[in-house]
Symmetry: C2
Subunit: 266 residues, 2 copies
DNA sequence: CGATTGATCTCGCCC
DNA sequence: GGGCGAGGTCAATCG
């Protein structure tokens, strides 16, 4: 139905430039009610309290409120937000008319006072957490709605590496036979479980990229657990599969009689 | 200049609503040259190739280009971007006039044809990676500049937990004496190194939150390494300090003769 | 819900 | 630049 440039009704972007705090607040509240994605850019402070606690003094930042409850506060640097809240929050936006704060401006009339702050608050439970962004100045408010039905198609993951081995077990070792994936042990699920040409049990731990000591520890736990689980006292081989290993990890592998096979996901 | 709240010159937000692809591109290029933070909202596809590779079919998304080279592509769900690129990229924006793509519209004149796509490309090396966002429709382009001098002040971290123990070593155990932090061993640096009332060596691994099997593996590696490093064959005590442990982790602790002390950062 | 683990993890520190 | 570990990690899966 769309030839070239006709706009689908469901896609919308509404923007206020340099709004007063009151009108900014109205636009935000309206956007949240419409389940839109809302962004606010301006000078603000940020306070967080929950799993940890943090404060951030005034500065210009970009704040994104998502309809699923997520919040992101971005500065002009870094991939990660300086502050955030995961999905599942309830967003709230309101103006603070300084009534609660300080009573120093008692000479001001009580009527149409320009509010001192625009506050964005996002709260969730389990765990109890709260993020509060206080704007003293707003340069832009936008609300976006649109449609996105597509899912990301990703390759080069650990899952791809596993599939590669299941499709061609000889890549691991001639005569290897995979018997299960995600096989449960008392130490957790093993990536690939199988046996070698001689019929010995083999535990395979997969990593999509170069590994350090932690991955060896993981493999170690699975091998130990299986040797105990099988209570046959039969030796269990542990093979780490990854593109490469660090020196320290390699030493650990040798120390504990574990093996390494170099393989990449692609 | 505007009423009441005077705007600092350095803070700016410039917005285009429903721009053509050409004018959108100009605004983006201009923003990138001015080292501004640039956002684009519209219908786009996304392709990534690098450590892994991914594709995403057309949908409405919010794209942020940061002056440090970071890119974030956000849908209306999730805290994490659906696609991204870390800081260090070179951004590029240009229009695709369909010349290279398909020659099916050969009847079109070669002159002032409305471009079919606006392309954002962000590339870096080490590792070689490329993110490409192709817009068929742009609902909004914004460029933001501002100032942000402040650093985040965070508490409730592992560092706070360490300080708590150094300030009051008896919290760990009566008679404990810390001797070093980040003490190097052949397995890496130990969080806190010290000795107990009886003069035995103690290795402390700190975690700010409830821990699982991985943390036990870490502590294990440090204890093993120290016992070998000290080559005195003297037994080394390993103590995991965290708010709590999972069942599996607790079993591992017991199995390997390690100890646990419950402590929180705050 | 909690537990476990992967991730294009990112980030910072230190060699 | 690589190694190593923390993170308010997040997100997915499973019991």
């Amino acid at each position: 139905m769309t030839t070239g440039t006709s706009h689908s009704q469901s896609s919308r972007a509404v923007t206020l430039e340099h709004p007063g705090l009151e009108s900014a607040c109205e636009a935000i509240v309206d956007g949240l009610e419409r389940e839109a994605l809302v962004t606010v850019f301006g000078r603000c402070t940020v306070d967080y309290e929950g799993r940890a606690s943090s404060t951030l003094e005034a500065g210009d930042r970009h704040v994104m409120l998502k309809p699923d409850g997520a919040v992101l506060v971005h500065t002009d640097e870094g991939q990660q937000p300086v502050n955030w809240q995961p999905p599942g929050c309830e967003h709230d936006a309101f103006c603070e008319s300084d009534a609660e704060a300080n009573a120093e401006s008692a000479d001001e009339p009580d009527g149409d006072v320009e509010p001192r702050r625009l506050v964005l608050e996002s709260v969730r439970s389990t765990p109890e957490e709260r993020l509060r962004v206080r704007f003293e100045r707003v340069l832009q408010v936008s609300t976006f709605s649109g449609t996105d039905e597509s899912d990301l198609s990703l390759s080069g993951t650990e899952e791809d590496l596993r599939q590669r081995i299941l499709d061609e077990p000889d890549l691991l070792e001639t005569g290897f036979t995979p018997l299960a994936t995600e096989r449960e042990t008392s130490a957790g699920a093993v990536d690939v479980y199988g046996e070698d040409a001689a019929g010995r049990t083999v535990v395979v731990e997969l990593k999509r990229r170069r590994v350090g000591p932690d991955a060896v520890g993981q493999l170690r736990r699975y091998v130990d657990a299986l040797e105990r689980d099988l209570h046959a006292d039969a030796d269990v081989r542990g093979i780490l599969v990854a593109p490469s290993v660090t020196d320290r990890a390699d030493r650990l592998l040798v120390d504990h009689g574990l093996e390494f096979v170099s393989l990449e996901p692609t």
